[in-house]
Symmetry: C2
Subunit: 211 residues, 2 copies
DNA sequence: GAGGGCTTGTGAAATCATTCACAAACTATC
DNA sequence: GATAGTTTGTGAATGATTTCACAAGCCCTC
């Protein structure tokens, strides 16, 4: 398959959200134009994004909402569930561990880890924080595919090394640190400072704001 | 000024982080190549990014670390401080309100708001949660430029309407909802579900992973 | 089953972003 | 102050993504 741009995957995730909304509202079919309107893009973009993966619509009619939901879920890899470990049970780690939006979409938190004795044993909803020393053994046993990193920046790289060595294949990093992963591991970073700085840039350059 | 790509602004924020690190290590000058290496990009990219805003280096020598920090801070609009209100004092809102990384970079949280009486009056570090009914009056008084939205998706649009009407010019949205802002307001969204779904896509299509 | 009215799927064109490649400019040394 | 050794700043080339535009396909009505 041709290489797929990240922007395409991001939009597919967005389309899926709107389609689910249209489905609960009982809409049976939808055109690329309607979908584009919800997502702030163009109908050609919607069709092009989908065309990388096949042909899902009916000319003259549009897309079956339920079918397209199924197809996009398949494309994104959401027809199965994924196991997630959260590393760092501090403020952000605890918030994520208790976030219902994860489980709702098929991402099951199978472990939360911390090194601070005062955090170990704490119960977050229905999961108990465990010692980071258990990480390797638990990863072997539970085979999580995804690790979410919520530790201070200077602890991040060492923990990524440990979890990727133990078999984790994707990392979502919240620590404000540039980290490196072995080939074959997918990495994404959510950097709050950068998001705010992009806003500050927009505020400082009103003449050329994107929005 | 020509239109600046978001990717450029994002990289400038990244460069700034590395430069600050190099400065604390006492390095006086740095070449585009060195900076590129830290940030996982190319020297040409670094120079091109900077060239949109002016000429900051010395040929044959590189960039003065301290000077370039100052220049990038100026470009991003960080030579001044910005005031932020956080709306929604739930799990994620509370974590953000207590996050030191905000203040460290010149983003001052001047208010945290919730509608739930059991949250109002709670103290997060040194700030007390206030009733959302106070929003308009406080925005008039404190003139925050940025609002960070940490409320459930179905409450998001109404609150954005309220804060932008009251004068807020930038919004960072954590709710999983597509929101609209008036012209002249900058909007960014952090969508955890999408981040995880991009990871799931990478896990499902190993042959064409980006990393 | 022919025709009108839509909407898809997709090459081609246009736009946008990155990389290349090199002249110009600086430092250091002799 | 001439020369060697660097590194910047930037047009031009390449590569990637988005938009355009239209033939092909489907539904519905007559
Ligand atoms: N709080 C926020 O709103 C926020 C926002 C964006 C980014 N971040 C980043 O997320 C990370 C966590 O932030 P936080 O506010 O939750 O901090 P925190 O101090 O509340 O939590 C960090 C946790 O990580 C644990 N930890 C440290 N080293 C560890 C190790 N080697 N193994 C296991 N656990 C370890 C600590 O014991 C602590 O419980 C930081 O890098 C921070 O910069 C936080
Ligand atoms: N918790 C997470 O890790 C996480 C991660 C990503 C995104 N989010 C999103 O962030 C938002 C908040 O999540 P949370 O986990 O903090 O939920 P939460 O329920 O803990 O907090 C939401 C808060 O918003 C308040 N609120 C609701 N309506 C309001 C209104 N009209 N005005 C003022 N306050 C109002 C509620 O009283 C509550 O305190 C949600 O949209 C969620 O999907 C959360």
């Amino acid at each position: 398959m041709k290489h797929i741009a990240e922007s395409t995957v991001r939009r597919l995730s967005l389309y899926l959200r709107f389609l689910e909304e249209f489905e609960t509202q009982g809409q049976a079919t939808i055109s690329s134009g309607e979908l584009a309107l919800s997502g702030g893009t163009t109908s050609a973009q919607v069709r092009k994004d989908l065309s990388f993966f096949g042909s899902f619509g009916k000319r003259g009619l549009g897309y079956g909402v339920r079918d397209l939901i199924g197809s996009i879920r398949e494309i994104l890899g959401l027809h199965r569930s994924w196991s997630v470990v959260i590393i760092g049970a501090g403020k952000i780690g605890a918030a994520l561990a208790q976030y219902r939006g994860f489980t709702q979409r098929g991402f099951n938190v199978v472990g939360v880890y911390d090194k601070d004795p005062s955090r170990i044993g704490v119960t977050l909803d229905d999961i108990t924080v465990r010692a980071d020393a258990e990480l390797e053994r638990d990863i072997q046993r539970l085979k999580p595919q995804i690790a979410v990193l919520c530790v201070p920046g200077d602890a991040a790289q060492a923990l990524v090394d440990r979890v990727t060595k133990a078999g984790v294949k994707a990392v979502l990093n919240f620590a404000p640190a540039q980290i490196h992963v072995p080939k074959g591991v997918t990495l994404r970073a959510v950097n709050m400072a950068t998001e705010l700085e992009i806003l500050a840039f927009g505020l400082s350059h009103p003449e050329e704001r994107a929005s």
